[in-house]
Amino acid sequence: MALSQKQISGIKAVIFLLALLPFFRLVAFAFLDKLGANPVEFITRNTGDWTLYFLCIALAVTPVRRLLNVPWLLKLRRMLGLYGFFYASLHFLTFLWFDHFFDVQEMWKDVLKRPFITVGFIAFVGLLPLALTSTNGMIKRLGGKRWQLLHKLVYVIVPFGVLHYYWMKSGKHDLTQPLMFAALVGTLLLARVWWHWSATARNQASA
């Protein structure tokens, strides 16, 4: 299916707005006093969930594009990944602001002492270079190959994010959701391994 540039821009605009809905929902809930008994917990969990949703959707672009043969999906990937970063930033800001009131020293103590926060923090820091190099100019400056290599970091970052969620829930023995994420991310990453192997096998056979 081939789409015109105009159609793709339209789709991008619609998804751009849809992806903001969770954020505006939180803002509206905050003003309407609908964040429940523990607003900080609500915001923390909600922004954490949406981070993982968007990173999974961004990781799904390539497999879906190949399976269903819809090449233009690639044009949405950068935006989806950046939304993952946007919600991760809100998640981190909630932690820094409402949990620690910008007491960076206290925050560091938490980050270093508690493994689930450590891995979450690493994942967030890992997203920073990807977000910073997401512009066309940066792609040019780095060169396509190096840029691609750098952005493969996401294959490590997302599992760290899932581990963060898993450890957060593990003491409460409530692992259904983290395990669902783990299965999904595992499938999306294994699909890449599989394609890589079969491509190498094909190359060797033809050589």
Binding site: L35, A37, P39, F101, W167, G171, H173, T176
Partner: protein, 267 residues
Amino acid sequence: QKMAATLNPAYALIEKKTAYKDATTYNNFYEFGTDKSEPAQTAGSLKTRPWTVTIEGEVKKPITLDIDSLIKLAPLEERIYRLRCVEGWSMVIPWIGYSLSNLIKKVEPTANARYIEFITLDDKKQMPGLRSPVLEWPYVEGLRLDEANHPLALLTFGMYGEVLPNQNGAPVRIALPWKYGFKSAKSIVKIRFVKDQPRTAWNSAAPREYGFYSNVNPEVDHPRWSQATERRIGEDGLFARKRKTLMFNGYSEVASLYSGMDLKKFF
């Protein structure tokens, strides 16, 4: 449904009570789901009448009591207690009940009775959360006998001038204000007096994270978060700093129960 009780002035905290709505919609009661909003939505299926509580084990006079006779065993008092959850939030709740020691006296524990065990209802038909294996069911909690005999330990039947809502542990639960909330067993069907320290639900699920004693202690962190501060539900909103957690949740009168014990080891 109203429940009459006289306020006990010894336990009339002057702190602001948590809103009824928050106290009845933000609950940890895994028998009705792991999400804190779930118990309020699903606990309607719990039938609190007829209901009996069996008291057995190392006692001279074991007995099975109908819930309404249990309520009449001693005069009902209203007591306003702080409630500190192990997750780092707190509430202030006006409970209705009487000291557990009244019931203990009635059944006459033997010399072998050193611990007391509370067992929660375990019925999949009434409790949808039991289908998921998050904990070993039934939920078991326990105390040392001298802890259970402390006047603060409240056998609880109501809150906010009414009978307990199902999601808060109807028709009978314990309230132990100096311990983290999960120690206060809900919807109790059996109380056993035993010789050895009971295997309690959270302690056997994650012994590193949830000790048998689980006294509120700002100096002993949970492995995944600090216990030094807490957020008071409904008061310490988004922009308020968290408040300091007090040793034994501010109930220093229990300290003598633990004299000579290393509370970092027996957390």
